[in-house]
Structures are given as C-alpha cells and as structure tokens.
C-alpha cells in the first residue's frame, strides 16, 4: 500500500489568523481516514487546500505521488469531494446536476450510468425533480453522487453528515463503508463528531487550533472497551456513597447533580448493575459513552471527559 495523500508542514495564515500551522500527515491507499477536530480547528481550511480552493502559505501537498500545485488537473481527475454543504444548482434536476459535474470532471457518461449513480444513493425515483424540492438528506446524497460520478480513487468528504437525521447519518455511513470495502476507495472524512468517525475510520488525525494533536490507527489510540457510564438513580447521593464504599470504588469518578459518573471496562457493567441491585439502589438509567470521546475531549479541551461534564 502506498500513500495517497502526503501533507508536509502545511501552513495557512489569513492575515494574523493562523488557521493551519505546520500540519503533516499521510493517508495510505484504501484507508478510511478520519480527520477530527472541534469546529474552527482548521479541518475545512486543510481540505480546501487539498482541493486547491485555498493556496497554502507554506508547506507541500502530494497526492498520488504528484505535487498538487504542478499536477492539479491530473490529480483532481481522480478526486471526488464534498465540502461542507452539498450545494448544487437548485433550479436544475438531479440528473442535470449530475451530468454537469460529470462533464466538468472530463468524462463522457451515458444517461443509464447517471441513473445507476443516482440509484446507488437512492435517488433514482427523483432523478427528474428539481433540487430545490429536495430535503437536506437528499441533497447530501446527491452531493455524494456528484463526488463519485467520475469514479475517483480518492474521496474527500467534509462533514458529510451535517444536518442529517439519524437515518440519513446511517445511510451515509453505510455508503462510506461500502465504498471502502467493496470498491477499495481511499476516503478522507472530516468531522467534529468522534462517534461518527470511530465507526468507520481505520486511522485518524485530531487537530486543534490548526495544529496536529495526534495521528494514528484508531485501535492504537484507545481501548475501545473502555467506557464512561452516566448512572441516574432515585437517590444519586446514596448511590455515590454506596458505590464509593464497594469493590467498585476505583471506577467511581464523580457525582454530579443529576448522575454519578463511572469509568470502567464495558464487560464490568453487568457486575455494577448487580451490585446496585444488591445495595437496593433504584436505577433510572445507565448511559455508556465511549472512552474515545473522553480521549478526544481531553485532547481538544485539555481536560478529560468527566472533567468536562462537570462544567
């Protein structure tokens, strides 16, 4: 596997604002690469530089082993992208939009193939409807179809699930996984939602204030079984006290106004529940959050998740 994207000491300043600072990372062929950061961390600026929409202040970008500035056209022929919202020509139909972007991508494509593309994102029934009549989720799917219409090797999706309902998010996730597993595409996906990235990414990069915080394979960065549990009971004070005096005292992190926070291995949750029953604590709800989220928040806010929840 060779590297598809190689970013080296990339920097972008907008006058006094340092949007991206000395950022380096590599995306390998066939990977789903998660690009994470809070809103305003510099993800979109980086992606826009990868797509030549923004000129870097310094640094270099190689894609498919070629320098992006010198081989822009050859590279972009093999790249499909959505940047933030999937804005399309609202007064045109889905099919017309798709045909326009296929032509701009330099390919000749038959009407049947365009319909197949729309079918892949579930829009074949609405191919002849104007985009202004589409819901946000449909626009997002059509945006993905336009990004894929020329069968690119590299797909860059900037916040692809923004504004979607849970079903829409699941659809996009499944599509990404299908593209990666069945079509062997390389995908770079940015998001500010860790829960979204962890379900699909092989590797990830977390940035904050334009700087790299951490990069690596998802499995190497955290223990997926570690979890933070929010426990709500009829009497949180009593529950906190009883758990603090039990064999599970090492997992008790904090008592808040409306819950008790525990940090433990997922397998041990049933034991905690049994113990709570034994101690006659009435449990109202138990909500488990991934420890990766904790990890992400601790990196981007400088405090662990449990600390962040206190505020």
């Amino acid at each position: 596997m060779g590297s598809i994207i190689r970013v080296d000491h990339l920097t972008k300043h907008f006058r006094d604002i340092k949007a991206v600072e000395n950022l380096s990372f590599t995306v390998e062929e066939g990977q789903v690469y998660g690009f994470l950061g809070q809103n305003g961390a510099g993800k979109s600026t980086t992606i826009r530089m990868l797509l030549t929409l923004i000129q870097p202040t310094s640094g270099s970008i190689d894609i498919f082993g070629m320098d992006l500035q010198r081989h822009r056209k050859e590279i972009l022929r093999q790249v499909g992208a959505i940047i933030e919202r999937p804005d399309l020509y609202k007064y045109l139909t889905a099919l017309e939009n798709l045909r326009i972007f296929a032509t701009m991508s330099g390919i000749k494509i038959s009407g049947k193939k365009l319909m197949d593309q729309l079918a892949m994102v579930g829009l074949e029934q609405r191919a002849h409807s104007k985009v202004k009549t589409y819901s946000q989720g449909m626009k997002q799917r059509l945006g993905i179809a336009t990004a894929l219409v020329h069968d690119p090797k590299l797909i860059i999706l900037d916040e692809p699930t923004n504004g979607l309902d849970p079903q829409g998010i699941a659809d996009i996730r499944n599509l990404i996984l299908m593209l990666s597993r069945e079509k062997n595409k390389t995908l770079l996906i940015s998001s500010h939602l860790l829960s979204e990235i962890e379900l699909i990414a092989d590797s990830m990069l977390i940035i904050d204030k334009g700087k790299k915080l951490v990069e690596g394979r998802v499995n190497d960065l955290f223990d997926p079984a570690e979890t933070v549990v929010e426990l709500k009971t009829t009497n949180d004070a009593a529950a906190f006290e009883k758990l603090s005096g039990s064999d599970f005292r090492e997992f008790v992190q904090q008592r808040r106004n409306d819950c008790v926070l525990l940090k433990l291995h997922r397998n041990r949750i049933p034991e905690v529940l049994k113990e709570l029953v034994r101690m006659e604590v009435n449990v109202i709800s138990l909500h488990s959050k991934h420890s990766l989220e904790d990890y992400f928040l601790s990196l981007t806010t400088g405090q662990p998740h449990v600390e962040a929840l206190k505020n």
């Binding site: 907008f14 826009r48 797509l51 030549t52 929409l53 923004i54 000129q55 822009r72 056209k73 050859e74 972009l76 022929r77 790249v79 992208a81 959505i82 940047i83 919202r85 804005d87 399309l88 020509y89 609202k90 007064y91 045109l92 017309e96 326009i100 972007f101 032509t103 701009m104 991508s105 330099g106 336009t146």
Partner: protein, 296 residues
C-alpha cells in the same frame, strides 16, 4: 472547452430570470412600434420642428421618413441606454452567483483550470449579450421593416440631416449592431470583473450600473475641462459611437456619397478603446480570480 461552454449556456438559459431581459426588450420595442404606427406623424413633426425654420418639408417627404429604418434607429437610441442593466444581470451573476449558491467551490474542485473556467464563464456572458442583440435586431429592425416598410433613411443631427438611400442602410445596421455588441461586452466585462470580488450578485449588478450611470453623466456633460481630461478615457464616451455608421460623407454639391462613413477613423478608434477596456477588465478578473482563496 466547447463542452464547458455548453454547460454554462445550459445553466444560463435554464433560469427563468434570463428571459426577463428578452421579455423587456420585446415589450419596449412593441410599445414604440405601436405608438409610431398610430401616431407617427406627430412624432415626425416633433423631430422636424427644430429644422422647420431652415428647411421646408413636404408631407410626402415626412411620410417617406417614417419607415422601418428610422423606427429601428429610434429604438436603438432608446434601448442601448437600458441594455447595460440587462447585460449586467447575467455577467454580474457569473461568479458571484456561483459563490452565493455554493456551487463555485464544487466546480473548482473539478479538473478545470481557473483561467479556463473564467474564459468559459465570460464567453457565456458574451453569447448571452449577442443573443439579446440578435433578438433586438429581429424585433426592432426586421419587425419594423415588416410593419413600416423600407425607404430612404433620414437621421437628424444638430448640424442638419443625414439622408441615406434605402439600399445603403442595411449594412450600416449590421455594423451598428456589431459595434453595440462590443459596447455591451465592455459592460459585461466590467460586471464580470466586479463579480469576482463579491459573494452575491446584487453587489456587482448595482456597482456596474452605478459606474455606467456616473460615467454616462460625465460623458454627456458639457464642461470644457472634462472634454480632454476625462471624457476620452471613459468607456461610456465610446459606447455611443455606433451612430457614426449613420453619418455619411457628402460631395462638393452636398450630395450623399453612398457607402461612406463621415469619420470612420473616429469610429474605429472608439472601437479599439472599447476592446482595450474589455481586455483590461477580463485580464484583471482572471488575475484576481487565480489568486483568490475560495472561502464560500
């Protein structure tokens, strides 16, 4: 390149608002033609009133005067002042409209160079301008020729009248419409340049019209100090030079020389200045756009 131009034209002509300009031209031409059909004599009397002290005109001459060629001249005089707005509606929207819709960023992630993109966008604006002019020619010239017939053409000037034989008129209109196309392309290039700086199309359209209005006022003002210092450099001063095709030379006896133009070098100089403005506006637009960070 041709495929990209076809896309741009498809996008322009798929928008209902594109046809507003065509509708507006048709309405104005129709209203002028109807008014002159039913009350043309009053209009001719009004035109002749300034000259009636020096010349005596027979009714037969006045009737000959009101023909399709004169009507088209009247319409051109009226409409070529309003046309810049119609042209700016599309050219001002070229880049700014795409930025506003959010489609600019998607388009520029495609393997099309920014210079190529600008060339295609501008070419589409020019095609639209030509389409408007052809539409106007069809209605104002050929429509008026059908309704009013043809005859010798008389053009009134402050210094007197210009008379052309009917067989000597049509080529002048072809030249005048060609010149008008260059004049309107200048406005189109200005709106296109302003469009690069904006993220919605209202700004460039209003800015273009403001510039055209201010420059036109300056061009028309009779202030001697401006005649040599400002006016020769304003593109609006040269936009009206199409009338030069209807000013003819006369021989020693005062007889019109068929096929002549009174001051062809002046017309060509004005044409050259307009072309220079187009090149300046367009190349500046490309230069700015190539360096621009797309943040919309």
């Amino acid at each position: 390149m041709w495929k990209l131009l076809k896309i741009e034209l498809f996008k322009i002509f798929k928008r209902p608002r594109t046809y507003i300009a065509f509708g507006a031209i048709a309405a104005i031409v129709f209203l002028i033609q109807v008014a002159l059909k039913f009350d043309g004599k009053s209009y001719v009397d009004l035109l002749m009133s300034n000259l009636s002290g020096s010349f005596e005109f027979s009714d037969e001459f006045k009737n000959k005067l009101l023909n399709g060629y004169l009507i088209c001249f009247v319409i051109l005089n009226t409409l070529l002042i309003q046309m810049p707005l119609l042209v700016a509606l599309i050219a001002g929207d070229s880049i700014a409209g795409e930025a506003n819709m959010g489609t600019l960023r998607l388009s520029l992630t495609k393997p099309v160079s920014r210079t190529q993109y600008m060339l295609v966008k501008f070419a589409a604006s020019v095609v639209y301008t030509l389409a408007l002019l052809i539409w106007m020619a069809a209605l104002a010239l050929f429509g008026s020729m059908l309704i009013f017939g043809t005859n010798d053409m008389v053009v009134l000037r402050s210094e007197g009248i210009e008379q052309m034989k009917d067989f000597d008129v049509l080529w002048r209109y072809v030249a005048a419409f060609g010149y008008a196309a260059v004049a309107l392309t200048t406005v189109s290039a200005l709106a296109f340049l302003l469009s690069v700086f904006a993220e919605n199309s209202i700004g460039p359209i209003i800015a273009t019209m403001s510039i055209v209005i201010v420059f036109t006022i300056l061009s028309e003002m009779n202030i001697p100090i401006y005649d040599k210092t400002i006016k020769p450099y304003l593109f609006t001063s040269h936009m009206v030079a199409w009338k030069g095709f209807f000013y003819v030379k006369a021989d020693a006896e005062g007889t019109t020389i068929n096929g002549s133009i009174e001051n062809l070098p002046a017309v060509l100089r004005s044409l050259g200045i307009l072309v220079a403005y187009i090149v300046l506006f367009f190349s500046t637009a490309v230069w700015v756009f190539r360096k621009k960070d797309i943040l919309t």
